[in-house]
Symmetry: C2
Subunit: 211 residues, 2 copies
Amino acid sequence: MAAKSSAAAPSAGPDKPRVRDRILDTACELFYRHGIRAVGVDAIANEAGTNKMSFYRSFPSKDDLVAEYLRDQEREYWRWWDEVTAPHADDPRRQVEALIDSVIDLARHKSKAFEGCKTSRGCALGNASVEIPEDNERLSGIVHAYKAEIRRRLRRLAREMGAREPDVLGDALMLLMEGSYYTRLTFPDNTGPVAAIAKAARALIDAHLAG
Amino acid sequence: MAAKSSAAAPSAGPDKPRVRDRILDTACELFYRHGIRAVGVDAIANEAGTNKMSFYRSFPSKDDLVAEYLRDQEREYWRWWDEVTAPHADDPRRQVEALIDSVIDLARHKSKAFEGCKTSRGCALGNASVEIPEDNERLSGIVHAYKAEIRRRLRRLAREMGAREPDVLGDALMLLMEGSYYTRLTFPDNTGPVAAIAKAARALIDAHLAG
DNA sequence: TGCGGGTGTTACCGGTCAGTAACGCTGACA
DNA sequence: TGTCAGCGTTACTGACCGGTAACACCCGCA
């Protein structure tokens, strides 16, 4: 949604965004909820209030749409990350704790950042990597770079908070977060083990900062 | 199913198992490596050295094969679990540590239990839940029961080792394990954060046993 | 007034999907 | 000798997939 009324649309319909944007928004929702392979371009186009022909005027192929979907979800993720960490700009530990706490909120879709956006099915990029064929280096490259950046950021935060083994702590925090996303696929709402991440992360941080 | 040369096959071909078994074996490999939706019954039948018609003589539908695949992978998992924990029958902490250490070995496919079985793509059941449509209660039920059992076992081990908050510790350990499986999809071999699980799990256990 | 970009519509292509019908062969067993 | 289960083979259905061709329309802009 949001989507701003694109840069160059002086008059334009007030609540009818460009076709390309409608398609991408719809694709994001359907891909996330049902998986990439389960959703055809025909279904996306129809759901977006247009048709397949108009779809192919905006995207060269379904693969291009998928790539756009992945980049879009990645952008949303970093937006969430930055919003959550911003209030604790020079306290790396509280940044991590804020992220962890927000993961829990996200799991029960109560986050302010993702206001009623969609019921949580965990990590869009991670789930996509189940469906991406191994020889598709373009798509799997996007996912890999994304996960590598998460890892880099968490390791950096661990280093900044003075952890004894920052890489180990960063990776451990990543495992907890990824585990939360993954189990979210199987356990509805907050019935899964996600809630344990709050205490676990704090205990790990304590252990790495102690004596 | 009984696998091996079924009860009533006195002579029988020595190295040519029944069609049904060949199909199931092939399906397990292909589903795990490429995903469920990506592999058609035709491909499975051909790879198993037979054809689609013979396939449908053994399985009423693809969904039934998928269900069998999930149950098979689950059985393999518990077999692994029991093998790894057996040597430390009355030391719950060492059981957990053995499991954790074996997860690392598994990630770099060096486990004795899964000798050269397949390059690791994490948890078969978890990955399947990405592709299972939400209204398919049969398949998603299998996955849910499986993950719930993992959770139950880890919580029980945490309780047996005298943790202060056994459910929290059990769930935290589960998050670490699931995170290991999940990230294994993105990071090849042991380049990912999986290795951190060893120290992280021990630190968490220590924290829950202290005081 | 005319032009042209963005869009909707219909029909089509070749390929693949899950699933079925019908027939023929072989080999164990009685 | 006959039977019958197990398996291979070919050909088929109807639906859907990703992707394309050709044409009509509307509307802002010059």
